[in-house]
Point group: C2
Chain length 464, copies 2
């Protein structure tokens, strides 16, 4: 431990010890390893010099003030379920872990809001508000362990955002510790409000680079009591993708609309002993909720049968199993240099064309491809992988990745629908956004964090 | 005209004449008067020194470059239907009118988006996309004449936002001319996207103070084919307000949920020869749309009958008439110093309490009060008025206004739900937002517009 301490600015360490209990600070090698990364691909591994667990807003403020005084970079994190490296440690950084700030401070069912600390687990919040017939709509696949603060930092999406919107749509107000340790309040408890600039939206999705979210008022939605689920298998992935547009044309609004291609179904079968891949070559998993769910299901079924879809109305237990399979399709894998899950989004009219192009790229570069998509939003998660870390294989993987990004942009898409830029996707942001826009963001960053201590090297590429 | 010309920087005027045709520039007194103000209360009247009508993005850029070169302030405007003075001219300002940039550049029905110039009229966009079974959801009362650019500048709401969200929720991407005349692009064509900071949301609602929106990609919603409308009259406004919570508890989602108090009903009757005030003392006007509209109507009716509501199911023609009456309840009146329509929002659980408090204030200050509300959002438009401009009456009006603002804030509300700060509400923003938050916004403003030429003196109060 003495060796590790050397890496930690001693005056800063002293301040931490005066502010926090011993069990809130660790320089143990196991902790430094555990908190060195999130679930994104690692290309530049650093262990933090310490991990601290704040338990109160005042403690966050004290840690930030000390970090500012000694120019120590802070990487704030929740559960670390991000997949873009937004919570990877960087050189000399202290990891500020907010998972112990996990209190639900208020649930107001009449106002349909909850006030939470950032470390509240998404699934715990949903359990708590379900008693009032309400839900917190953002549902990233990791919702059972991911924190609301992390959802906010990444503007997380999920399955239900096809109907219910993304995290930004669920956040009314934030408490934020700024880079000088001061605490500010943005937004309002009300559903609507246009007083001043929309600072709340500026912080949502900023990956801890502009301030540290230490509290939020979130808007809740009605927990549906009626749910209908369709599994529709298609002879090819192109017809499944076309089904997404057919559902739009039928003017139905699924709460879940997921597309899984053949290789994804096969992998799920291997992992779970299911027989999905025997039922078809591609699957649209569709859920409707609310009073019109049954009518929407009927409209959807006929629209998709017209595209040669084999429609299966699932009973609630099987429906839940299918949705769970989809949510967990990443299994225990985390991204690595030889297996990268992408997060592009394209206009929905381009889904068929884009998936066809992805398949062609995979063949040409000789890499494995699986495609799953939050298809209702045009948000695709193609996963490219190669079997080994041999340089030429990694090079082929990267060539396929780069090409898939170029093509998504060419079709009017974005390089990240819901995972964020983090550290891993910095190399592509300049392809999507022009230099003046990047520079504007650097200047906003400099305004909010002049010393550059808040999650440096994330979200926005440094000036070249 | 020669006298007027003297007010206009001659070099700037020369550049304008080189850039624009003669019919795009006016210093005629009638134009200066027409474009001196929007529909907000005027407390500091200035005529602009000139009005220019840009017709292309390049012309906007040229005007801004010239204004920057000669430090001429620009007040950008559309139809001028704002009610907070956000488009009031200020001393020495040139009004930049974008109403001629009114082309719908693209409608993509499969992607459910439209790409528009800022001067497109909201109602025209809605007519155009209705042919595809789509709608642009923001529907401020002025939608027949207000522009999409103005909707964006104010983050306009309207009646339908109870279900469909506000303008920010409908904007995917912006083209913005910055204060140096450069053109940037924010956002994406896709429904989801988290690449970089959310600059789109920062521009939406910034009232032309950070940049000039010259184009937008907006997200469209499905135009409902099934609509059911209820008019529910109550014996008092408190029970009508309680009805809003009862609808929430019944888990129905109206697309329109408007509350009108007794004095509002009486005024509508006088203006329109209707008999609303004979039917009850307060009205909830409720519309459901979509496949579940009839079921929701039935649930709503029983929930409101339990609160002594007299429920009337309106046929489509009468429903449309009632909604039109509500939309036009301001009539041709514009706000003035002796008649000010407020725009506070409170958490919905506070509606009953707040309306009771407003009535008490009106009596105590001896001012007239009418309350209408986008009640589904807790967004109230109380209108206070006094019969004359005598100083003691204006003082009483202002005292009531100030008190209504204080009370809204005390209840966890905001001073502006959808109209914006503009010029008129600057005096109250410091009550809602702490000085460091105001200062942060001033710094953002300074970053985007270092010379302060973009709509100066609006949206954010100057440092005191």
């Amino acid at each position: 431990m003495a060796v590790q301490e050397l890496h930690l600015n001693q005056q800063f360490a002293q301040t931490l010890r005066e502010t926090l209990r011993a069990d809130q600070i660790s320089v143990a090698e196991s902790d430094l390893q555990t908190y060195a990364r999130d679930q994104g691909p690692v290309t530049d591994y650093h262990e933090p010099v310490a991990v601290v667990w704040a338990e109160t807003v005042a403690q966050v403020q004290a840690v930030v003030r000390a970090a500012a005084a000694h120019s120590v970079p802070l990487v704030t994190r929740g559960a670390g379920t991000g997949v873009s490296g937004g919570a990877h440690a960087t050189a000399g950084a202290v990891v500020l872990n907010l998972t112990r700030m996990n209190k639900i401070l208020e649930i107001n069912a009449a106002d349909e809001i909850a006030r939470v600390e950032p470390g509240v687990i998404n699934g715990d919040l949903n359990s708590a508000v379900a008693e009032f017939g309400l839900m917190f709509a953002p549902d990233p696949a990791s919702f059972k362990i991911s924190t609301v603060g992390g959802n906010i930092a990444t503007n997380a999406g999920g399955l239900r955002c096809a109907k219910y919107g993304v995290t930004r749509d669920a956040v009314l107000s934030l408490e934020v510790v700024m880079a000088d340790g001061s605490l500010i309040h943005t937004g309002h408890r009300t559903f609507k409000g246009v007083a001043g600039y929309d600072l709340t939206s500026l912080f949502v999705g900023s990956e801890g680079t502009l301030g540290i979210v230490v509290g939020a008022i979130v808007r809740l939605k009605y927990l549906p009591t009626i749910v209908r689920t369709l599994a529709v298998f298609f002879p090819d992935v192109q017809r499944a993708a076309a089904g997404v547009l057919a559902l739009g044309a039928a003017r139905v609004q699924p709460c879940i609309l997921e597309l899984l291609d053949g290789p994804s179904l096969k992998e799920l079968d291997i992992r779970n002993g299911s027989n999905l891949s025997q039922r078809g070559t591609a699957l649209l998993l569709i859920q409707f909720d609310g009073l019109a769910a049954e009518q929407e299901e009927t409209l959807a079924a006929s629209a998709l049968e017209a595209l040669d879809g084999t429609v299966s109305r699932e009973d609630p237990a099987e429906a839940q199993r299918l949705v769970d399979l989809r949510r967990n399709n990443r299994g225990l894998d985390v991204d690595a240099e030889n297996r990268v899950g992408e997060d592009v989004a394209v206009p929905r009219s381009q889904l068929v064309h884009y998936i066809t192009a992805l398949e062609e790229m995979a063949v040409r570069h000789d890499v494995e491809l699986q495609v799953i998509a939050h298809a209702g939003d045009g948000n695709l998660h193609p996963t490219f992988s190669v079997p080994t870390f041999e340089p030429d294989r990694i090079q082929a993987l990267n060539a396929a990745l780069d090409e898939s990004i170029d093509m998504a942009l060419e079709l009017g898409g974005t390089i990240t629908g819901e995972h964020g830029i983090g550290q891993y996707k910095l190399r592509w942001l300049g392809l999507e956004q022009a230099e003046p826009v990047l520079e504007m963001q650097r200047q906003i960053k400099a305004l909010f964090d002049p010393q550059g201590i808040l999650n440096p090297g994330k979200a926005i590429p440094a000036a070249s």
